[in-house]
């Protein structure tokens, strides 16, 4: 194992994830088109999820036999389980991510319906234009 390469690549991965995070955060906050915001939001969710799984990753110990990180026996002995624990990655972040992906999907479905409705009502999906209309409406209401 070339430790320098692995370190470099790992840090590169983490920094890439944060760059994605920053770019998409900008996309969600600063872009005026709702569809663009939606796309950026989905990528942001995915980035957070990848980061979560990365948290649970483990470095393979040198000398470990190449085996799938799962129980390959339906009637395991304590030794097999011990071996399995030694080579498997952290399952809890994966369970979190599974939940988070479904939640993100649900929210995205809702946002899609809302974007469609905004388009039906305002004939535009530009938040600046909608904000202008809203200011005028509130002004009329208040006077």
């Amino acid at each position: 194992m070339d430790i320098e390469l692995v370190k470099f690549m790992f840090i590169l991965t983490v920094m890439s994830l944060y760059l994605n995070f920053a770019i998409t955060l900008y996309g969600v906050v600063a872009k005026v088109n709702l569809v663009k915001k939606l796309i950026a939001l989905t990528i942001l969710q995915d980035t957070v999820n990848v980061f979560t799984v990365l948290i649970g990753y483990r470095l393979w110990r040198p000398g470990l036999i190449l085996q799938p990180p799962a129980l390959t026996d339906m009637n395991p002995t304590p030794e097999i389980i011990k071996d399995f624990v030694e080579r498997s990655v952290d399952p809890l972040p994966q369970a979190f991510v599974l939940t988070a992906i479904v939640i993100g999907l649900a929210v995205t479905l809702f946002l899609t319906t809302i974007v469609l409705h905004v388009n039906y009502h305002f004939k535009t999906v530009n938040v600046d234009e909608i904000g202008g209309m809203k200011r005028r409406y509130i002004h009329e209401e208040a006077v």
């Binding site: 430790i3 920053a22 770019i23 990365l54 470095l59 389980i81 479904v102």
Partner: protein
């Protein structure tokens, strides 16, 4: 141009700062060789018959965590998904009752025939993913997500009137969806109800027998481990997700004229 450069610089600075903080805050420059102790506990317990008051009877640790150890999270994750579909039904209410006028011919005969066979393959593979969720990677939601690609492709390839011809109605889908959700929630509280009826200890989301409770779902069926509730929950989740997705797609793909007609006029009520 200058604005862009400032902006990109800012983003890179944010990313670098966060990376540095994360690096200091625990991730380090390499993933650790050991996992957290709680993960070791999960991996140790999930299919360990030696500790059978704390096992989940499933060799798949992720599915065991998703549906058993942290089953409540997953139930409410299903509720979030249900809420999204409820929201779609709420804002599209009225649309499903109107006749839909789009008639599209779909794609060419080659694509139609191929897609019919591929649909069969997709549905079979999805069902297998769901039914083996407690044995191999996969599970109810994964199966549902795979299966729901099939109706979407069918709508694209055959046109939306296919569902009308095959009598796949809004009410049928809603019934299937809510019935499977009801069964899902019922199977999570079944042992509690049984325990209350027979005056024994039972818990919400109980799967295998626990230290204080002897009630248990079967841990094996035929010749494979069953994972108790995991099997039932995966099956019901599969049905619920598939029908829910199909419901939302049919709503989202309603033609624009129909929707706009439904939105005419002001709504009364405050």
């Amino acid at each position: 141009m200058l604005r862009d450069i400032i902006f990109v610089t800012l983003l890179i600075i944010i990313a670098l700062a966060l990376s540095y903080l994360t690096y200091l805050g625990g991730l380090g420059d390499l993933p650790p060789q050991d996992i957290r102790l709680i993960a070791r506990s999960y991996l140790n317990l999930t299919y360990n018959q030696g500790v059978n008051w704390l096992w989940a009877a499933s060799p798949e640790a992720v599915t065991a965590i998703v549906w058993d150890y942290r089953g409540l999270d997953t139930l409410f994750e299903t509720v979030v998904f249900y809420g999204a579909i409820l929201a779609a039904l709420t804002v599209f209410r009225g649309v499903s009752k109107l006749p839909d006028r789009i008639v599209s011919v779909g794609l060419s005969v080659v694509v139609k025939r191929t897609m019919a066979i591929v649909t069969l393959a997709i549905l079979t593979v999805a069902a297998s993913t769901a039914l083996h969720g407690h044995l191999t990677p996969g599970g109810g939601f994964q199966g549902g997500a795979i299966a729901s690609v099939a109706p979407l492709l069918l709508i694209v390839v055959f046109g939306k009137q296919l569902f009308v011809e095959k009598k796949v109605s809004y009410n049928k889908l809603l019934t299937l969806r809510n019935a499977s959700l009801g069964l899902l929630s019922l199977s999570t509280v079944a042992l509690l109800i049984y325990g209350l009826a027979t005056n024994e200890i039972g818990y919400i989301f109980q799967n295998q027998a626990k230290a204080l409770s002897t009630l248990s779902y079967p841990s094996h069926m035929l010749d494979v481990p069953l994972g108790g509730t995991l099997f039932f929950l995966n099956v019901f989740e599969f049905l619920a997700v598939t029908s829910g997705f199909t419901l939302v797609f049919t709503l989202l793909l309603s033609s624009e004229e129909v929707i706009l007609k439904e939105f005419e006029g002001e709504e009364y009520g405050y």
